[in-house]
Amino acid sequence: MLIPVAGHPHPRGVALSRQQQPNPSAAPVQKLRLRYAKRGRLRFTSHRDIARTFERALRRAGVPMAYSQGFNPHPKVSWVGAAPTGVASEAEYVEVSVVDPVDPEALRTALDAVLPPGLDVLEVVQSAGGALPERIEASAWRVELPGVSPEELTEAVAALMASESVQVERLTKDGKKIVDVRPAIVSAEVGAPADAHSSDAGHDARDLSQPCGILMTVVRQTTPTVRPDDVLSALRVVADLVPPVPAKATRMAQGRLDDEGGLVDPLALDRAAEV
């Protein structure tokens, strides 16, 4: 799914009939693909918050951005999916177009330096063509459930995977909606205790005295989207599992599913073309 640049509160598209087009922008010469993480308290940002923050960071870093034409030009930035508000991620993707060629690693360093801690640029590659969204069909999620014991969680996950269909209710802006979660779930298992320290640990204050079950699950990107919240709802439906405090979910990876149920790095092709 390609989301057009969000984050412009002002209405657009007024009065395009002047004799000449204003703000002629140079043509893009290069497209870059970025993987970034959303960590710690930054997980409470919405996609629109991130889009605004990102565009401002690009300007502060002095990135020679390509802009659209017209009275309300916007920088050419394309977002690929977006983790929901409240969910952390180690694998978010965005593409930017520039009017002067830039060095991907220099861009990564410069952009990361001006983004707030917790919004971290992990990798930048030059696009080798093709459509990035087509290289993404599933996400791997890691969900921390403080106060839920690994045993309790193991039982619930087994019940979930044994079911062919699990209907959950979801609140949307159009009211309540019933979604079958089970077909989207490729795999689900309980993470080893060694996984109990997430990459988020440095950002969060956590109570280590209580048990914490870790759910590792790979979920296909379907319509309607099945989010980590929905997987937790499914655990409630099949096993009455209700976490005593809000769970913390992190997207660990995105990509196409390979034959073993793993995910193929969506930037692999671009990286291969660079060398």
């Binding site: 009065a15 703000n23 922008s25 409470f44 401002r56 020679p64 409240g86 830039v102 707030p116």
Partner: protein
């Protein structure tokens, strides 16, 4: 919701409350507003600070964060090596409920420290409708809402902002108020508090408040007694101790170039009401619009120089990444070098998608060259003007001397240069106003559409008229006026709506935005109220009043009920404070608070208003003796300097910043 039951602090230390707050955040709307982490926010070591300020804007984060006043004080204070300042905002009812349930106190967004642990709590009131939010924040912080109940362990609560020019309605709740510019005042207060703490806090709270009061620039309400006449009017206001002056003076920062703040404007992660960077290009206004409290209390005019503005814009763009720069003031096109400033900035940022905006512009100071410079390098914002009064007669009463011809000429030029839309601001309920004055707003809007269609040859011209209720404010010539009652305002707005719609061919291109007159009446009660209004505010808050500036939270009936319950026993009422015209010699609740304006001049200007006589601007005509400059030892500070902005070479492509390290080498 149990208000008034203080939040129990499990521990009075200054540990971050974030671990307790975080589990609540997934359960509230827009949690990002509570996490802090804004670009250019400052986090300092608590233990290393000698004086600690919590700064509050008593409204939602999205409104409070862009507030220039708070941003300036935050940076000025944090620049001091031994001073720490953090920010706090009003929390929405969904989080408030959870905070009360889980014992989480009011916190700062910078380090999530409890507000009750700071030495001072500075609250900036741009509007009186934030008063209930002050009470709620104090209560959530575990600070007694009544100043009289506070001990040496509680922060000193200081009010500032324009509403602090009459702090009497909130005098039971604040320890002190500062009138006027805050940059220098906060540092002086800090010095006094630092010294008092270093001495071991001799004399406790009473002594530090006395030391603040005796400077003559900090008002401490508890040191003044108000005596009333049998009919409810004030007899006199007198100090009740020796070291305290009879009058308290406003503060004026004269050299704006010496105070180039904010240098590092805050950029929120969350969306806010102003998605741009602002540079204040001058302070004060002497146009003399009689309804305008800001113009009266911020005199004299002090311009920032063209070079000072240029430096702030560049530094701010580098620090924020904003795509729009607002050139802020009370009437931005009146800067003596506005043409050179806008051209110079547009030249500098050619090709970087950086647009400029002038949030307040007068029709008579505006021209199309200016408009073109503003949109040259970026987005084209709409055109907005504020004739304020519908008829020429009414505009003479309010001294807003812009003619309809000026307006039509300006919008015609804009429409022929490609603009399609104009917004016009008016007020309803002005002194001497009749139905006919208001109905002429419709005629003006129709004439704008006619002119636009004619010069552009197009049908898709739009004009939006936006109408606010007039509220008489302290320290203005209208401080004696009777406020118009809400029924009359509503009736006039309905007639105006009908007049706009009477001609469908024109009316369908005219949008109309307004609120009913009720919130204005309550704003009027709070604006011109005295100490007796404190009880009304408290009752409204106890009955659930919050966020009174938001129509979905404001309850007129709750205010009316509270006013009736609290004021009737005192022999006064809501109408007495609002729709009653005052006489020349009545002691007004704010007479002992000196804005520099001579009360006799204000009265004479009020009489001129009633006689429909206009008053010139002292920037271009001789002084008319409003009293401010001699009383405050100030003078107008305006250009032109004759200097220009030198180009910055080179700026980046597609960004105002150039970064050579990015290019492939």
């Amino acid at each position: 919701m149990p208000v008034g039951t203080p939040v129990t602090l499990v521990d009075v230390s200054v540990e971050s409350v974030f671990p307790a707050l975080e589990p609540l955040l997934p359960r509230v709307s827009k949690p990002v507003q509570y996490v802090g982490g804004e670009l250019n926010a400052t986090v300092k070591d608590w233990d290393a600070a000698a004086v600690r300020w919590a700064l509050m804007y008593p409204d939602a984060y999205e409104v409070g964060l862009p507030n220039q006043g708070v941003m300036i004080l935050y940076e000025v204070l944090n620049e001091q090596p031994d001073v720490l300042a953090e920010r706090t905002y009003a929390v929405w009812p969904d989080l408030e409920r959870l905070m009360r349930e889980h014992g989480v106190p009011q916190f700062t967004v910078d380090s999530h420290r409890p507000v009750g642990a700071f030495d001072l709590l500075g609250v900036s009131f741009a509007t009186e409708l934030g008063y209930t939010n002050l009470l709620n924040a104090l209560d959530l912080a575990g600070i007694p809402i009544h100043a009289a109940d506070r001990t040496d362990d509680h922060p000193i609560v200081v009010a500032g902002g324009h509403a602090a020019f009459n702090p009497e309605p909130i005098s039971p709740f604040v320890d002190a108020a500062v009138l006027g510019d805050g940059e220098e005042a906060v540092l002086e207060i800090t010095d006094l508090v630092r010294a008092w703490k270093a001495e071991g806090r001799p004399g406790g709270r009473d002594e530090i408040l006395t030391r603040l009061a005796e400077t003559g620039g900090v008002y401490v309400p508890r040191f003044y007694d108000v005596e009333y006449l049998p009919d409810g009017r004030i007899q006199r206001v007198v100090p009740n101790r020796e070291r305290v002056p009879y009058r308290v003076f406003k503060r004026t920062t004269m050299d704006l170039d010496a105070w180039p703040y904010p240098k590092q404007p805050l950029v929120p992660l969350a969306e806010s009401v102003h998605e741009r960077m602002s540079v204040e290009i001058f302070r004060g206004c002497t146009r003399g619009c009689r309804f305008c409290q800001a113009g009266m209390i911020t005199r004299p005019v002090r311009e920032r120089s063209i070079e000072g503005i240029g430096a702030m814009v560049q530094r701010g763009l580098e620090a924020t990444g904003f795509e729009e720069v607002g050139l802020l003031s009370l009437s931005s096109a009146d800067h003596s070098e506005i043409a050179e400033i806008t051209k110079g900035l547009a030249d500098r940022y050619e090709g970087t998608n950086t647009s400029l905006s002038l949030p307040s512009t007068r029709v008579d100071a505006f021209n199309i060259d200016l408009a073109n410079e503003l949109s040259r390098n970026g987005r084209r914002s709409g055109l907005t003007f504020a004739p304020e009064g519908g008829s020429e007669r009414l505009r003479r009463v309010i001294n807003k001397m812009v003619s309809e011809d000026d307006l039509i000429r300006t919008v015609s030029a804009a429409f022929s240069a490609g603009w399609r839309q104009v917004k016009l601001y008016f007020m309803c309920g002005l002194p001497t106003e009749t139905d006919d004055d208001v109905l002429q707003i419709a005629e003006m809007a129709k004439n704008v559409i006619r002119a636009g269609r004619e010069v552009s040859g197009r049908k898709d011209i739009r004009c939006t008229i936006s109408i606010g209720g007039f509220v008489p404010k302290p320290h203005t010539p209208f401080q004696w006026a009777a406020q118009c009652d809400p029924d009359t305002v509503d009736d006039r707005l309905k007639k105006l709506r009908d007049a706009v719609n009477s001609d469908r061919a024109l009316g369908r291109n005219i949008g109309m935005r307004y609120h009913d007159g009720k919130p204005s009446l309550i704003e009027g009660l709070l604006s011109r109220g005295d100490r007796r209004i404190g009880r009304v505010i408290e009752r409204v808050w106890r009955e659930g009043g919050r966020f009174d500036g938001w129509s979905e939270h404001f309850s007129y009936d709750r205010w009316v009920r509270a006013a009736e319950a609290e004021l009737t026993p005192l022999g006064v009422d809501l109408a007495w404070f609002t729709t009653r015209e005052r006489e020349e010699l009545e002691v007004l609740p704010w007479d002992h608070l000196d804005s520099g304006l001579d009360k006799e001049w204000l009265w004479a200007d009020w009489q001129d208003a009633l006689d429909e006589r206009e008053q010139d601007d002292c920037r271009w005509t001789p002084c008319f003796d409003c009293g401010v400059c001699p009383a405050m030892g100030t003078d107008i500070e305006v250009g032109p300097t004759g200097r220009t902005l030198l180009p910055i070479s080179p700026v980046g492509k597609g960004s105002p910043v150039r970064n050579p390290t990015l290019t492939k080498g």
